[in-house]
Amino acid sequence: MAVVDTMLSGQLLFAALVTGSIYALVALGLNLVYGTLRMLNVAHGDVVMLGAYAGYWAFSALGISPLVAAPVIALAGALAGWLVYRIAVRRMLAQGTAAHRLEGNSLLLFFGLSIIVQNATALAFTPNNRGYTYLEHVLHLGNVSMTTNRLVALAIAGGACVVMAVFLGRSLAGLTMRAVIERREAAFIVGVDVERVQALAFAVGFGSAALAGVLLSMLEQFSPFSGFPYTIAAFIVIILGGLGNVAAGLGAALLLGVLETYGVALTSANVRSVLLYGVFVAALLLFPRGLFAGRAARA
């Protein structure tokens, strides 16, 4: 039974874990931005793509190990997120009447921004695929062989998720953020500085996306147009896992990783996008009220 052997091999499970952990990290960042602002930022995946370029250039132009560059790039991403919020988003929200109208149209707005970012990147760095090899050393653990870079990426992505979970569950700033996600008006009334929380959410969201991008650049080739599938994957994770729910999001991300990895292994690489968009459409149809379905049922 070759198929069963394939299914049960640790090899596939390991690959699914790596994919799932990166999805979880990307989704967690989008979750915070979406949760605090209620705007679907479809350009989130493009931050991942820009992080991948930063990691690529640090390694191939400056010779800096991506592991050293990762924290710097994550911080730069966080700073960028904070600036984007302070300069653009806050002004947009302050337009009073525009705010209500924007909620419906925010998707087109971000979609436009996403097209700009992708094509400006292609203009600057050519639309070609890029990649580099780093830590290609193969480790054997039982009958599972894994390359070091995948193991490192899994550890960093998983670690970052745990750090964010602890931040959201234990620290005052994290609890405040969850309060804003759950009941924005109520949080405002009890004295939460919603503005600051939203700026922080943007910073953490962009920072974690940039970090995921660096990890991605270590693992596979990417192009200016590689970001969008990550946006879709992150949406799936948020729809299935719920807003602000780290544990359920982690579970959903791993499930998606398993589904994608095993689906491709059992059929062919062409099926990867079919699976991704299929799960996405199915998730939205199952929860037509979007991301609040679970919450509404509970209330």
Binding site: L40, T97, L108, G278, V281, L284, L285, P288
Partner: protein
Amino acid sequence: MTQRGLRVWGVTLVTLALGLALLPLVANAYLLATALGLLMWLALTQSWCVFSRMTGYVSLGHVVFYGLGAYVVVVTWQQWPLPLAVLAGGAVAAVFAALIGGPVLRVRGPYFVILTFGVAELVRYAILAGEAASGTASRILFGAPDLILIYAAMYALALAATVLLLAVSRSRFGHGLRSLRENEEAAETLGVPVVRYKLAAFVLSAAIPGMVGGVMALRSTYFVVGQVFDPMISVTIIAMALLGGGDDTRGPVLGTVFLFVVEELLWANAPLAYMIILGGILAGFVLLAPNGLVGMIDARRRGVGADAAMASTAPGTAPAVASLGSAPTQEPT
């Protein structure tokens, strides 16, 4: 629109229609092919408006109908007579809209936008995977009809889309669609059959793009599946409608002509720059001028000035985009 404005616009529209009709008598092949592109976008954008502008449900996946129509024509190539194949393309697109309409139209606001995009991408990748599995990545089409015939067919489709939009816009059905755009719950309470109306508008707006795709498939002698399902077609349609704005016949025509000129100037030489401009139009008009060019023109005529036009969202003239905000989104109550 004022009486004078209406007359000016009427004359412009008739001149455009006559000019495009008489063009084959004088134009060379290159000019005719360019005008064919303009007709294609006119047909697509106005069809999109029949559903998305009337109801406020913004479809970011209209390329799926175009692609299905094209695919039907290519698959039945030299087995079915062409007119039949093109009509079948439109029928397949309409049936597909009717099938997915039930579940898809329950989703609202930004979720609907991203869902339509997802559906279009799903169909594209599913057909690509199917083609890869059967080993037909691309096809060469021999014996396509004359450019002039294709032009005539596309002219008919653009005209049909214009008439359809005008007819729907003025009908009782159209008023029902507008009412559900402003407030779906209120419209339903007042007896508008919202579910049936939405589905009907969705199907109506899918048929012509299906036939347009079928006709355009005849233009390329080399057929690649990925191309006819290119999501940028959906984006261009929205950008054209958004650019035009308004709630009458002017918006889609103005927006289409304007963006088409930009595309012709830039696409061949600077495709990436064109894409950046396209993204800029999408983001900029949503943010700054949700009433589009028509809103600006009207505001100027009223003597309010263009700046006020950018800020104004008069509910009476609520156009495609200003109304999107009223397609209710879920508040965590």
